[in-house]
């Protein structure tokens, strides 16, 4: 049942969707020409995964680790998909259409899509899959992103979503990794422990925190994809062990290379580095309600006293770009190209310090490498560079264990990372608007909040751009987070592995679709 080629590609009738490019590939290809060859079928792809825990479960509402997310995209399909070029394309939906105020969305489903178990996908499956995350007593991590959905109904192969407020970017939400389409049970729920899906590979066995093995789904509907016979995901926490496994040929691909030594890994024979910069960024959020961070000049002083270039060179080993204290990446659609890049400037930092009426400043920053890889070192370097303008930063090492519950959003000055969101609206309304669940700086800016709401349902592209530019300006100058760098996703693979010309930048592992898009070179 995979003869549905006709419906591939964007539907011109859908609003906004066609131009939803969120980034261009920023490929570092030291070897010159990209790899290209006719894809061939066969072989077992063995992937070394940096993140995977014995507490991982099959329930989509709990997916969090790199392992869960890659496995999700390998064994499941979603309503929409972010293509390698960054555009949003339909996957299990053939097309979608919005009402004029963008509050009602109608998704037309692809027919005849087969699950690994042999069942065929229905509209009820979609409703059950999304409803799994909704409701008062939802325990899903995706609960906030589906909170706006007030109703879902089925009409044959159409599924109609009613939203509480207009959202021009709603189809993007449907590509979220928590929202795979899985079979509904008789009572309208889904089997949270089940492994069935309609993605390119079927889970053969899985052990949390250890790994899993998936075999090709013969009935997969998507043509010219899923070239491997099988995929093995192996959790290898230790950086050195993971790299050893790659170098010694025990895995073909590792999703995370140790940035400290990536330059050495690069020299190893037969190893290629895959480095893409997208939306992932590291930040140092300050609680804007707490002294001294409630003073905008103090925040500005800190923003000027961090040496961004040094961080990119040292912490990222060059695999990233400078951040400008707002969360929108240079490749994204509404990236503010007019905003001046903030540089390390001890004099201006001192100026702002004096503006705040301070001679010197002593602050604690609470960090753990759980915040992001290299967070501790970032703190150390920050402390060194800030010392020049009379700012004493005391780096407090917090345990990795429990960092997100006890330190982040608890202590006034911490570290954070965001893998980013495909749209500016999604990003801003997740972590910057007043009352957003993860507003980590407790920042409240009237004009900014107003702009977010108005831009969300704004249909005019230019007006929208103008508004997003202003939002970035506001966040950068007045916001509570120092965002010094956008970090590349750095993985590595053996040269026996061939990859398409364009690599997705929205996420690591070729947009988590490596198993579908890559193949073994012959």
């Amino acid at each position: 049942m995979n003869s549905l080629t006709g419906s591939r590609g964007p539907s011109r009738r859908t609003v906004l969707q066609g131009s939803a490019a969120i980034g261009t590939a920023a490929l570092i290809t030291p070897w010159g020409t990209p790899l290209r060859a006719e894809p061939v079928r066969g072989g077992t792809l063995r992937v070394g995964m940096a993140h995977g825990s014995t507490t991982d479960s099959m329930d989509p509402g709990t997916w969090d680790s790199g392992f869960s997310i890659l496995q999700a995209h390998t064994s499941n399909n979603y309503l929409s998909e972010i293509a390698a070029d960054g555009s949003l394309i339909p996957e299990l939906a053939e097309s979608w259409e919005a009402s004029a105020d963008a509050t009602t969305w109608t998704f037309t489903l692809r027919s005849g899509v087969q699950y690994h178990s042999g069942h065929v996908m229905t509209a009820e499956d979609v409703i059950a899959s999304i409803n799994h995350h909704r409701g008062e007593d939802s325990t899903s991590a995706a609960a906030p992103i589906v909170a706006d959905i007030t109703d879902i109904t089925a009409d044959g192969m159409n599924v109609i979503f009613t939203l509480s407020a207009g959202n021009a970017d709603f189809p993007f939400v449907m590509s979220d990794y928590h929202l795979p389409i899985v079979p509904a049970q008789a009572d309208g729920s889904i089997d949270a422990a089940g492994t069935d899906g309609c993605g390119p590979y079927a889970i053969e066995e899985v052990e949390s925190g250890v790994g899993s093995r998936l075999v090709r789904h013969d009935g997969y509907w998507k043509p010219n994809s899923a070239w491997f016979d099988a995929v093995e995901l192996i959790v290898i926490h230790d950086n050195a062990a993971r790299q050893n496994a790659l170098v010694s040929g025990e895995v073909d691909y590792i999703d995370t290379a140790d940035l400290n030594t990536v330059h050495l890994l690069e020299r190893a024979p037969g190893i290629e580095i895959l480095s893409v910069t997208g939306t992932q960024h590291y930040g140092l959020p300050m609680d804007t309600r707490a002294a001294p961070f409630d003073d905008i000049n103090v925040r500005m002083a800190l923003k000027f006293s961090i040496d961004r270039q040094q961080l990119v060179d040292t912490i990222l080993n060059g695999h990233g770009t400078l951040g400008n204290d707002h969360p929108i990446g240079p490749g994204q659609r509404f990236f503010n190209t007019e905003l001046e890049q903030r540089e390390y400037d001890p004099d201006r930092a001192q100026f702002h310090l004096r503006e705040a009426g301070l001679e010197s400043l002593d602050v604690d920053i609470h960090l753990a490498d759980a915040a992001f890889a290299g967070a501790m070192d970032t703190g150390v370097l920050f402390a060194e560079s800030a010392a020049a303008s009379g700012i004493n930063i005391n780096v407090v090492r917090e345990p990795n264990d429990g960092y997100w519950s006890n330190v982040w959003m608890q202590e006034p000055f911490v570290g954070t990372y965001w893998s980013g969101r495909p749209t500016a609206d999604w990003m801003f309304s997740t972590a910057y608007t007043d009352g957003a669940p993860w507003n980590e700086t407790y920042w409240s800016h009237e004009r900014f909040n107003m702009l977010v709401t108005s831009a969300r349902s704004e249909l005019d592209e230019d007006l929208r751009r103008e508004q997003y530019f202003e939002m970035q300006q506001i966040v950068s100058d007045e916001g509570g987070t120092i965002i010094p760098m956008f970090a590349a996703y750095v993985g590595a693979h053996s040269d026996t592995l061939a990859r398409p010309e364009q690599i997705a930048t929205n996420w690591r592992n070729d947009g988590q679709r490596i198993a579908e898009r890559w193949w073994f070179a012959t």
Binding site: R397, E398, D401
Partner: protein
Amino acid sequence: MGFIIGLVWFVVVIAIAMAAGLLFRFLMVQICPKGIAKEMRTAPMTASFGMLMILIYIIVAVFAPLIAPFSETEIVGREYDAWNNVNLLGTDNLGRDMLSRLIYAARNTVGIAFIITALAFFLGSILGLLAAIVGGWVDQALSRTVDVLMAIPSLIFAMLLLTIFGTSVVSMIIVIALIDSTRVFRLARSVAMNIVVMDYVEAAKLRGEGLWRLITREILPNAMAPLVAEFGLRFCFVFLMISALSFLGLGMQPPTADWGSMVKDNATLITFGDITPLLPAGAIALLTVSVNFVVDWQLHRASGLKEQ
């Protein structure tokens, strides 16, 4: 061929070490007052070498700021510079001078390890001796408590406690010392058990001596030899504990340099054949070996075995 070169190096290093040990012993015999000189003369080569090394470590630790070419945290070059004229041992992952960090780490690591071990011994041996001398329910209560604490794997227990109490230096010292003290308790108690039956302890009890004096004057001096031996090993295990904790993300607070964390931070380099991480690891190993050489010698003297 590599093997032969390695062997030659090995022999050369051993020879230099032996020569240094001999020279040191000779010097000490000349310099020291008569009593110490006499003991020094009995020191075997290994012990002399060990003492020399310990002395060097102490000097390095005490005079770190004078010896180190750069400061502990200063960034002086780009990251992972090779060995060169300015940074003799290259730079670390942030571009700090490796040699300077090694030297400062001597101060931090040895200092903290010493405090931890000393605390563990203070706690463990006092309680162990108390249990042995008082006996009865005090002994039972203490021994059973220690049994329970020892039944929890130390690394996991340390992780648990450090997560609860935070990873400041103080809590690290207290937590590791506490966990280590259970091992010391067991040893101290079993050693003391053999001493409390001695007539001189009975005599002291009959004299009406208090507990404190019984412990400090009658038992402790006679239990010193095995305790000192254990001290040598425990002292070194503390480095490893800190290092393992650092591996699990709970080590020393940066930017403080300590060998355990330095091994951890640079360890991945070894998989590319870079020997930089061997330096802090070697520093730990050399101190371990040195301390234990001296301890072995002292034990040998205390054992009364006369053969050489």
